[in-house]
Amino acid sequence: MTYRTASIIAYIAFFAVVLALPLVLNSFWTNRVAIYLVYSICAIGISMSWGYAGILSLGQGLFFGMGAYMLAMSLTLAVPENNPVPQLMLLNMEPNAVRDLCCVTTGSFLWIPFRSIAVGMIAGIVVPCILAAGIGYVMFKRRTTGVYVSIITLAFALIGQLLIINNQPLTGGFNGLADLALLEIGGFEFDPYGPSAYYAVALTLIAVILLARYMLTGRIGQVLKAIREDEARARYLGYDVENFKVFIFCVSAGVAGLAGMLFTITSEFATPSLMATSLSISMVIWAATGGRASLLGACVGALIVNFVGSLASESATFQPVWPIILGLLFVFVVLFMPNGIAGIFKAFIERSGRTERLGEARPSGKTERADKSERVQTELTAREA
C-alpha cells in the first residue's frame, strides 16, 4: 500500500468515525466531542501556517477569541431581555445615559451591526482575517521571521485579552458574554447538546480539511513549502515571499475565527480566557502532537490531547498536574517525534510497504537493516572496482 492510498483511507475513516459518533454518544459527550472537534479546526489553522509555511503563531487564540466574541455579540442581542440594550451595559452605564445601543456606554455603537446574526457570522471570519492581514503585513514586510513572529503574535493576543477585560461596559469584561440565545438559522435551532450543533461542527471540520487539502496540495502549497524551506531562495526565484506569508497567516486566522464561532455555538459563552496565552500554546501542542505538517494529524492530535486532558481533569491526582504533563508532552514531541503521530503513521506505512516488497523478492526474510548494509557494501565494492 502506498502512503498516498493509506492517507486517503485514513481521511475517509476519520470522516466516517466523526460522522458516526453521535449515534453512540450521550448528550454530554456529544457536546464534549463537538468542542474537541472545534479545537481540531484550530489545530488545522496552526498546521496551515506553521506546518506548511513555517510561521509559528502563538497568538492564534486572539483570532479564535474574536470569532467567538463576534457571534456571541449577535447571540447576546438575540435574547429578548437584551433588547434594546444588553443587560451587561445597563449594569455599567452612566446614570443619565440614553438607553440605546448607540450611546449607552462608550463604544456601544460598535454592537449595532451585530443585531443581525448574519453580520456576526460574517464578522467572525472577516474581522480576524483583516486583523491578521494587518499584523502579518507589518511583520512580514519587515522580514520578521522565526521566534520574533511567535513573540509578536503572542503579544497581540495578550493585548486583545487585556482590551476585553478592561472594557467591561462594552465587552462584559472578565466574565465575558454568557446567557446567549441558541443559534437559529431559518427556523432551525442548533442545540449544543444535540446532534445539530455537533453536525454543524463536524461538517465544517470536514469542509475545512478538504478545502485546506485542496489548496495545500496545489501550487500554492508547493510555494509555501519552498518558502518554509528557504525563504531567500524563493525570493531570488521571483516570489514576493511576504505576500504568500500574509495570505496563509490570514487564512489561518480566518479558520481560527470560524472555530471560535463554532465554540460559541457549542459552549454558549465567550470569555477573555479564549485569548489567554495558555490556549494559544495548547493549540500549538495539539498540532505538534498530531503532526504539524499533516492536516489530519493535527486534527487527531487535538482530539487525543483534549480527550486525555478531560479524563485527567476528572481524576483528583491528575487534574492539578495536567498542565505539567502537557508541557512535558510538547518537549517530548519536539525532541523525539518532530512529525508527530502523522510522522509515525507515515514511517509505519512506508516500512510495511518496503518489507512487503522485500518479502516478495526474497523469501528468506532478511531484516531491513541487514539488507541495507549489504546494499551499501555492494555499492562500495563497485565504487572501489
Binding site: Q222, A232, L237, D240
Partner: protein, 264 residues
C-alpha cells in the same frame, strides 16, 4: 537566437548591453566593499570575475541580485533601472542568482524544486487554484537532462551529493528563464570530473544565455572564458583576455605572492 537576428527594433536592443552598472558602490561602516564599479556585459557573453578573497566579487553579485542595497550608483538591466526594486522584482525582471553554497529546497524532490523555479506565475492568487503536475513537463525534462539530474527527479534534494546540489541550483536558475545568470563559484567543492562537467555546461550555456561567473581557479577560468574582469579592493583593476590579464603589470603587482595567479 541572438538579438541581432530578431526582426524589428533588434538593432537598438543589441546596442544596449544586457547588464550595466554605473559607479556602483557599497560601504559597510564606511569601508567600501565595492567601489565605483562600471560593468558592461553584452548579450550572450560569458564573463568571469576574478580577484583575491575580500576583493568584493561576491558583494558585487549581491548588489546585482538585490541582496545588498548599493550606497551609490545604478544597475541597469537592458533599458530598465533595477536599482533597489527588491530581490523578487529583480529576479522577475530576469536576473538569476546561484550562490556559492547551494541553496535549494532540501525537503522537496528535485522535480518539485524545478517546478517551483519554473513557475512564472508568482502572485498569490495566480497560484491559488493552480494544480501541480505529478510528472515533469518538457521544459523540466530538458533542464534536468542538461544538468544531469534526469535520473534523480523523484529524489529529495537532501539526498543529493554536493555536486548534484550545485547543478540543481543551476537547473533552478535556468528554469527561471533569466536574461542573465549570476554564478558564484559554480565549481566550488566539486570533484575533478564534476568540474569538467560544469565547465562543459557553462560553455554550452554561453551564447544562448548571458552568464556572469565568479571563479578562483584560473585553469577553470581559461577553459570557459574570453573576457576576464579582475577586482581588487572593491574596484575593477583590469579587464581583458586571459593573456592580457596575466601580462598586466598592475594585476601582477596586486597579486604578487598570491596563490591565485601564480598557481595558474
Amino acid at each position: 537566437m541572438n538579438a541581432v537576428h530578431r526582426p524589428s527594433k533588434a538593432e537598438t536592443v543589441s546596442a544596449v548591453p544586457i547588464l550595466r552598472t554605473q559607479k556602483l558602490t557599497v560601504r559597510f561602516d564606511e569601508f567600501p566593499a565595492v567601489r565605483d564599479v562600471d560593468l558592461s556585459i553584452a548579450d550572450g557573453e560569458l564573463r568571469v570575475i576574478i580577484g583575491a578573497n575580500g576583493a568584493g566579487k561576491s558583494t558585487l553579485l549581491d548588489l546585482l541580485c538585490g541582496k545588498t542595497l548599493p550606497s551609490e550608483g545604478e544597475i541597469w538591466l537592458r533599458d530598465r533601472n533595477i536599482t533597489g526594486i527588491g530581490e523578487a522584482a529583480i529576479a522577475r525582471s530576469g536576473v538569476g542568482r546561484k550562490f556559492q553554497t547551494p541553496t535549494v529546497f532540501k525537503d522537496m524532490t528535485v522535480l518539485e524544486n524545478l517546478q517551483v523555479a519554473s513557475n512564472r506565475r508568482v502572485r498569490v492568487f495566480q497560484n491559488l487554484f493552480d494544480r501541480v503536475k505529478s510528472g515533469p513537463n518538457d521544459k523540466e525534462v530538458a533542464v534536468a537532462e542538461r544538468t544531469g539530474l534526469l535520473g534523480s527527479l523523484k529524489r529529495k534534494a537532501s539526498e543529493l551529493s554536493h555536486g548534484q546540489l550545485q547543478w540543481l541550483e543551476l537547473a533552478m536558475v535556468l528554469s527561471q528563464d533569466p536574461k542573465i545568470i549570476l554564478l558564484d563559484e559554480p565549481a566550488a567543492g566539486m570533484t575533478a570530473a564534476e568540474t569538467d562537467k560544469t565547465a562543459e555546461l557553462l560553455l554550452d550555456l554561453a551564447g544562448s544565455h548571458t552568464v556572469l561567473v565568479i571563479e578562483h581557479d584560473m585553469a577553470f577560468v581559461r577553459r570557459i572564458c574570453k573576457t576576464i574582469t579582475v577586482m581588487h579592493q572593491g574596484a575593477v583593476l583590469a579587464e581583458g583576455t586571459a593573456e592580457e590579464i596575466e601580462g598586466n603589470p598592475a594585476v601582477i603587482e596586486a597579486y604578487l605572492g598570491s596563490a591565485t595567479l601564480s598557481h595558474a
